[in-house]
Symmetry: C2
C-alpha cells in the first residue's frame, strides 16, 4: 500500500502535528476498486458524512473527493483504496482548533489474495479475549482509534484462523476485528446492534438491505455467544471480502447454509463481490 494523494498532491509524508497522529483524531474508509470505479462509494460517502458529523470534523466537498478518487484510480482495475480524513494540523491539547484544515489522504494497494475457499467453504474464527469498550459517542464510527482491534488481532498468529470474534465488556457478541457478523436461526437473520459499541460496516448495511429486499426477517440486538451458537448458519462481512461463511467458531463447526449462499449470490450479481 502506498500513499498516492495527500490534500490533492502527490506525497507520502504528513506533518507530525497532524491530529490524526497526535490523537487518532479522524476516520477512514477502506474501499474496493473495480474497473476504475468504487461500486460502494454511495455507502462509504454516507458513512463519512455521518462520521464527520459525529466527530465534529468539517466534511470535505463530495465533488472534490470524487475528483481525487478518479485521479487515484483512473488506471486501476482492481485495488483497495483507503481514504483517511483527519482533523488536520493542531497544537498541543485536545481542544479543537478554530480553523481545521481537514487532511485528505488516499492510499492505494492490492486486494489481498484470499483463497477462494474462504468464500466457498468458510473461515475459522478465533474467540478474542480483548473486549470492546462500550461508548455510544464513538459507536458505529470507523474512526482512527483502533487499539482494541490491534490487541484483539494480536491474539493469534499463523493461518489457523482468518478472523477474531470480539464481544463487548458485558460479554455480548459485537463483531469481528475487521468484519461484522450475522447468523441465521429459526427463520431469522441476527446481527448485533451497534449503537453502543462496534463499527457499522458498509457491507453490513448492504447485507441488511438485501435481507429486507428478500423478505428475510432480520433482528438487531445484543446476544451472548451462547445465543450465537444456536445458529444454523453464521457469516461475516466487510467491503473487501463481501460475505464469508463461518465454518468454525467457539469449538463448534457450521455448514455453509442456504441463506448465506443466497446473499452471496445476490451480492455477486449486484456488486460483483
Amino acid at each position: 500500500m502506498k500513499c498516492v494523494l495527500l490534500n490533492g498532491k502527490p506525497g507520502s509524508e504528513i506533518s507530525i502535528l497532524d491530529r490524526g497522529l497526535q490523537y487518532g483524531d479522524g476516520l477512514f474508509e477502506t474501499m474496493r476498486v473495480h474497473h476504475q470505479s468504487i461500486p460502494l462509494w454511495k455507502y462509504h460517502w454516507d458513512r463519512l458524512q455521518h462520521g464527520c458529523e459525529r466527530l465534529k470534523i468539517p466534511l470535505p466537498d463530495e465533488q472534490l473527493l470524487s475528483q481525487e478518487i478518479q485521479q487515484c484510480i483512473s488506471a486501476t482495475d482492481h485495488a483497495v483504496l483507503k481514504l483517511i480524513l483527519t482533523r488536520g494540523i493542531g497544537q498541543r491539547g485536545y481542544v479543537i482548533p478554530d480553523r481545521c484544515e481537514v487532511s485528505r489522504i488516499f492510499l492505494l494497494g492490492e486486494i489481498p489474495a484470499y483463497p477462494e475457499q474462504f468464500q466457498k467453504k468458510g473461515v475459522r474464527i478465533h474467540s478474542c479475549k480483548t473486549p470492546l469498550g462500550i461508548n455510544p459517542v464513538l459507536a458505529g464510527i470507523k474512526h482512527l482509534n483502533r487499539l482494541e482491534q490491534i490487541l484483539a488481532r494480536s491474539e493469534w498468529q499463523g493461518n489457523e484462523y482468518q478472523e477474531g470474534l470480539m464481544c463487548d465488556t458485558n460479554g455480548f457478541v459485537i463483531e469481528g476485528t475487521m468484519s461484522n457478523i450475522f447468523w441465521f436461526y429459526n427463520g431469522t437473520l441476527y446481527t448485533p446492534d451497534l449503537t453502543a459499541c462496534g463499527v457499522a460496516g458498509v457491507m453490513r448495511e448492504i447485507v441488511i438491505q438485501l435481507a429486507k429486499e428478500q423478505s428475510i426477517s432480520i433482528k438487531m440486538g445484543l446476544w451472548s455467544t451462547k445465543e450465537l451458537l444456536k445458529a444454523e448458519e453464521i457469516f461475516i462481512s466487510n467491503s473487501l471480502i463481501g460475505i464469508w461463511p463461518v465454518s468454525y467458531i467457539l469449538n463448534r463447526t457450521f455448514p455453509v447454509g442456504p441463506v448465506t449462499q443466497q446473499l452471496q449470490s445476490t451480492l455477486q450479481a449486484k456488486y460483483a463481490i
Copy 2:
C-alpha cells in the same frame, strides 16, 4: 509546538504508513522541562515501559531516549517536551508487523501561560456529557486513542471553565480531560481507581506517593458525582500544572483547603512545580 527530533534526526513529517496515524497505534508522554532536565523523567519512563508492555510495542533503549532528550532540551530552561512512540510503519490491516521499527518523535513547545490564580484560587470544572468507555486492556495507558477526550473537551468554549470532569459509562467519576482528580473528605484523600478506565497520570502517581509519605489516608475506588460532592476539598493534577484546587464543580463551590495547599507546597519544594 514543533517537532525537533524524529528517529534521531531533525524532521517534521512522518510516513503516512506510520501506524500512529493509521490506527492511533502508540503512546505519548507530556513532560515538563526545567533547567535542561526533566525532573519527572523517572516516572515518565516507568509509564512508557508499562505502556509498551501492555500494547506489545518494543521498548526503545532508555539510554537512547535519554540522549535524544538531552539533544532536544540542552538549551532549554522551561518548556514542554512531548514524546510520541508509535509502532512504526506498517501495511494495511490490524495485524502487528513481524518487525516493528518503533517511531520516536520529540516535540518541543512553550509551557502554557496559565494565570497564577489557577494554582492559588482554583479552577472551574465543566461536567462533560461525553463518557469514558470501560476497557481494562487499555485502562491507565497514555495511548494515542484520544477521541473521547477530544469530544469531551469540545463541550465547552471560552474561559469559563479550565477543565472538564469525565465519568465512565456507568456514571462513576474517573478523571478530567487532561488531568486526574482527587478529593478530601472526613480525613481521607480519594481518587478514582483506573484499572478499567482512564489515564494514570504521572502527577497522580506522585500525589499518591506524597500523601503516603505524609501519612494522609488514601482510598482508590469508584464513586458517583454525589459522593464527590461530599468533599471538603477537591483538586486536579497533571505533570504540567502540578496541582490546581477546584473552586467550582457541579453547581457547587469549594474552598482551597489545607490538604491541597500542603500537597502543593511539598510538590513545589520537591519538584519545583
